[in-house]
């Protein structure tokens, strides 16, 4: 059975520019019913149809899980990405009909935690918008440390400060403000869980320091929000379905496979859930692995690829699809 999610027919109910880089999109159900309930940290996959082409990108739900009249996502414009965020910024208008997936949560709160310590970098703030709303409603104990480039690019920093006051601490790169990570991690009460979402460098830094300071791995939660990266075009043979396809510069391998009418399972489309893992039958060239699912050993073996985020450069690639 396919592990893809059920789809929701929605209409864009509002488009709100938040700052120079980020725009917020609101979705309601076309039939006027309530949307499915979700939990803080969940994402939806947004289908972006542009002419012949369909891009599917995951975005964290950032509204309160208590309000299911609408879903809201925030999209940071990426001028050198594959064009998904540019499409959202330029082409999506209020009233447009779109399709999003049911919510999926791969960055769930551990409800056993005595305290939730959250670290956000840049647009990595979005899952914490929903998680803090959920915890605040239940009287949960949380503390959020949020790093942004400048005050004007501190997406929702003002909203969060107003809602949660001293539970939110802001750090601005341009003022050379830095999280005192070691001190922060060394002074938490027992039973604290740590959550980090932001650029890969930040996630790696926080995980490394937490491990060095003796935090058990089960208490450290993280979500990479890297979208698939563009790259050189390449050709792929799909052995099971007997098709040869071309992956364009701006297309992910998974999107190219789907465009050929083959539907591998997927959930996150960000290289973390493992659903679209695909066996390599043969290859002559070099893999560009961008996922967080396969082990380093598997990356080196050349026997597996995560087509949602990873690419290939070389003469030939045959996949078991």
């Amino acid at each position: 059975m396919s592990t893809g999610t059920t789809k929701l027919d929605v209409v864009v109910s509002d488009v709100v520019p938040v700052n120079d880089l980020v725009t917020r999109f609101h979705f309601r159900r076309r039939d006027g019913e309530l949307l499915p309930t979700f939990s803080g940290g969940a994402h939806v996959v947004v289908e972006m149809r542009e002419g012949e082409r369909t891009r599917l990108n995951p975005y964290s739900l950032m509204g309160s899980p208590l309000d299911t009249r609408e879903y809201t996502i925030s999209v940071r414009r990426d001028d050198v990405g594959r064009g998904g965020s540019l499409f959202m910024h330029r082409s999506v208008k209020t009233g447009m009909e779109m399709v999003v997936s049911y919510p999926v949560n791969l960055f769930s709160l551990d409800l056993r935690a005595k305290k939730h310590l959250m670290l956000a970098g840049g647009i990595g703030i979005t899952p914490f918008m929903a998680q803090t709303a959920q915890l605040a409603a239940e009287g949960g104990n949380f503390e959020l440390h949020y790093t942004c480039r400048t005050a004007s690019l501190g997406t929702y920093a003002d909203v969060l400060r107003e809602r949660y006051d001293r539970r939110v601490r802001l750090y601005h790169d341009d003022l050379d403000e830095r999280i005192e990570l070691d001190r922060l991690l060394s002074t938490q009460p027992l039973g604290t869980h740590l959550y980090v979402c932001g650029p890969a460098g930040m996630i790696n830094w926080v995980r490394d320091r937490a491990a060095s300071l003796g935090w058990p791995a089960e208490t450290v939660h993280f979500e990479h929000f890297a979208a698939p990266q563009p790259g050189l075009p390449f050709d792929v043979t799909l052995a099971v379905s007997g098709k040869t396809i071309r992956v364009d510069e701006q297309q992910s391998l998974l999107e190219a496979i789907e465009a050929a009418g083959v539907d591998p399972p997927y959930l996150c489309r960000g290289g973390v859930c493992g659903q679209c893992e695909t066996n390599v039958i043969s290859c002559d060239g070099k893999f560009i692995h961008n996922d967080h699912w396969l082990s380093e050993e598997e990356h080196r073996s050349g026997k597996k690829i995560m087509p949602c985020v990873s690419r290939f450069e070389g003469r030939s690639l045959v996949l078991e699809r």
Binding site: M1, T3, T5, P103, R112, L267
Partner: protein
């Protein structure tokens, strides 16, 4: 037209039985003349009218009697219902799921009205009409999981998902096939399945866990499991082994038809939206051999399955002691002719 609920017992005088319509809707678990473990999981979607899959949460003629039996079990042993402190939110998720599904499938018996977080729940078969605040435990007579599972057939395990595993952190378990919530509470998926023979070697649990941790909201899944029980006793728990264990020595060639029951579990798996947990309802269906034999295909097939079952499985399911008498009894109903494809009766 509503369901006519039977007055019957699952203990002492054992007056439980299935009406002829209920015999035909029994979820017979064997699609071929042999049985071996498989990851027999499929999407939990609505099935044919008149089957146990007509609604995703099935309510049948045994509902009232089963709820009375559950209340008796809980009065004797409150530890059959447990919920670790972090599982309350999942309990509300389950309350919503069961109220919605029962009201949807059986509007003549159940009604749910919502006005924001003020909810009114009417359960006519049990004479309940409660108004409460969703999310506020103080407005219900029990915790949310206990409240709704005292009104829902089947056992319920709520599994917390974390660290790539599932944890048995809450449940209502009174109709179980010889396992104990009190023993398993807090265990992970591999720990609580440790006693199952053969399946580990086949890597079944690794694959099953991978599947279950990826169950998505709005896409529940199901599987059937089975065992056998002497007398129509719902509560065959380790805690009460002294009550039902000796029953297995009472089977004689003369009483097989009345005493030996096929016990089928319809297990389903649902992602819970607020807690991101999984609920695992285990719904038990019982049918005595005399009732099963009214469908000749089922009797022929069951004979072949029990006769050829590997000894490890027969032992695990507790059939060893009365298996010869059962096989002998069933053999008289097996003329050797072929059985048709599929689960259903001819």
């Amino acid at each position: 037209m509503g369901i006519t609920f039977r007055k019957e017992t699952f203990r002492d005088d054992f007056t439980f039985k299935n009406s002829p319509e209920h015999i035909r809707r029994f979820p017979f678990p064997f699609h071929e003349d042999a049985y071996m473990y498989a990851v027999n999981i499929e999407p939990h979607v609505v099935g044919p009218r008149g089957s146990v899959l007509e609604n995703l949460i099935d309510v049948d003629e045994h509902y009232v009697a089963e709820m009375q039996d559950r209340a008796l079990v809980l009065a004797e042993d409150p530890l059959r219902c447990q919920s670790l402190p972090h599982m309350t939110l999942a309990g509300w998720d389950l309350l919503e799921l069961l109220m919605e599904q029962q009201a949807l499938g059986y509007p003549e018996h159940f009604t749910l009205t919502r006005d924001g977080d003020r909810w009114r729940w009417i359960n006519r078969p049990l004479g309940i009409d409660d108004t409460f605040t969703f999310g506020d435990t103080s407005t219900l007579p029990y915790g949310p999981m206990e409240y709704i599972t005292r009104q829902s057939q089947g056992d319920f395990c709520i599994l917390d998902q974390r660290d790539g595993n599932l944890w048995m952190d809450a449940g209502m378990v009174t109709t179980q096939a010889d396992w104990s919530l009190d023993f398993d509470i807090g265990m992970n998926f591999f720990e609580w399945h440790a006693p199952v023979p053969l399946a580990h070697e086949k890597g079944i649990f690794v694959r099953a866990l991978k599947f279950l941790t990826n169950i998505q909201q709005g896409k529940p899944a199901r599987r059937l499991n089975w065992t056998m029980t002497i007398n129509p006793r719902l509560d065959t728990s380790p805690e009460n082994y002294h009550k039902w264990g000796p029953d297995r020595a009472t089977v004689t060639p003369e009483n097989v038809g009345d005493k030996v029951h096929l016990r089928v579990e319809l297990q389903s798996f649902w992602r819970l939206p607020r807690s991101n947990g999984i609920v695992f309802p285990i719904r038990c269906y019982l049918i005595k051999m005399d009732e099963l034999a009214t469908q000749p295909k089922w009797a022929r097939r069951l004979h072949r399955v029990i006769r050829d079952l590997p000894d490890e499985l027969a032992n695990y399911k507790g059939l060893t002691r009365y298996r010869p008498a059962l096989v002998e009894w069933l053999s008289k109903l097996d003329d050797g002719s072929a059985t048709s494809q599929g689960f259903g009766p001819d």
